[in-house]
């Protein structure tokens, strides 16, 4: 009896935390993500929820996006605080890696990345969590004209 009590409590505690965390990993995360796009205009959101990666079997969510030349795109990431994972992404084209929000030399994952696109075409976006951790996050894609925001275009 004495042996059992302290073991049960942490389990119950963790189960409770798990349930609470699940509740946070929802559309509200997109509301938070939207605050980062500033003068850009929302295009798409990518909700990513992944289990912890196993050795040699990375967990990743993959999407195809078609980007247009003369357009500035903003990629943002927002993580659910209740999960350990930090969302990272890599953008590829048919030639290989174009860019990533994770800069290895700085060991830093940028939550806001702007890209000026000069080449229209198919790109491939792969989301995962840093170090293969489990996580829940949202990647948001927004855009603006190369030189003007939507507001500036409208007022022009």
């Amino acid at each position: 009896m004495n042996f059992c009590k302290p073991k049960i409590l942490p389990v119950v505690f963790f189960l409770f935390i798990g349930t609470t965390a699940f509740g946070q990993c929802n559309d509200q995360l997109i509301d938070t993500a939207l605050t980062k796009i500033e003068s850009f205009t929302y295009l798409k959101d990518f909700k990513v929820r992944l289990k912890k990666a196993k050795k040699n079997s990375p967990q990743a969510a993959r999407y195809t996006v078609i980007l247009s030349k003369d357009t500035k795109y903003r990629f943002t990431t927002t993580n659910a605080k209740e999960y350990p994972g930090e969302l990272i992404w890599t953008l590829y084209d048919s030639n290989g890696v174009v860019m990533s929000n994770f800069v290895a030399s700085k060991s830093k994952a940028y939550s806001v990345v702007d890209m000026t696109c000069k080449k229209s075409g198919r790109y491939y976006l792969t989301y995962s969590f840093l170090g293969g951790a489990s996580g829940c996050g949202v990647g948001l894609l927004s855009f603006r004209n190369k030189t003007k925001t939507i507001d500036e275009l409208i007022d022009y």
């Binding site: 049960i8 205009t41 798409k44 990666a53 030349k69 507001d151």
Partner: protein
Amino acid sequence: MTFKTGAKAAVVLLVVFSISCGEETPPRDYNRALLEADTLVMEAPGVADESLERIIQAIPSPIEMSALLLSADAEYSETVLNQTSNYDAYTTSHKQALNLGVFGADLGYLNLYKKTGTSLEYLKTIKQLSEDLKVGQFFDFDHLKELSGSEDNVDSLLTISTRNFSQMNRHLREEKRGKISVLIVTGTFIEGLHMACQTVKSKPIDRVKERIGEQQYSVEALLAILKVYEKDARIAELIAAFEGLKESMTEVKIEIIRKEPVMEEIDGILTLVDQDESVVTIPNETLRKIISATEAIRNKIIS
């Protein structure tokens, strides 16, 4: 006895938990494996249910096309829009879904051109069609109507309405109503292309012509998702029409010039200028064929 069994289960759970929380160094070839996994997507058009979401996400939002028209000084033209009076003709879910997409693209165009008065009319039709398709709950019409009341709210209006469409499409796919979602996306896409085509007919703007040629990527993606439902005779008809559109685009040449990208950090934001350039060549005859094929598909959809 029961308590002891429970305690054992708790210990097992704790062990499992501590294992799952343990630090594990990602394999050395982690990025390589990700890239390899991604190549599967590059070959995508085999299309299982789970791929539908990914391919649908590939189709560009018509807002980008409308923004291009605006930035290229293309004049607003009400004639490029579908007429809300056509609503009564849309009595099947097939037509309702296609035209919900069409009116969604029209709404974005109207908002960008600050035609907020007219956009209310379109909003009302979108409300009716979405209710007919039992997805009306994804549009906060009162809020959208309120935002339409002022020209200063265009950005919010665009964000909310685009997001509402995205939520609705995701819900439809989750509810195994992916066919309806695919039809909405098809309607949205063709209306965006139609706007661009009608614009270059009256004013040959090079940037818009190029963008029309670039739509071959989207047409391929659309065909991939439509083919999931090719057993539906009406969708088979759409596929044949889009195959015709794809065929009309075969003479579009897209040349890629590769250059090293420039990356820097500005005010904490990682910024990349991808120096790779695409140059699109679209002969006039090809453009004429694309316009003609687009008109034929769009007219069939809205009639």
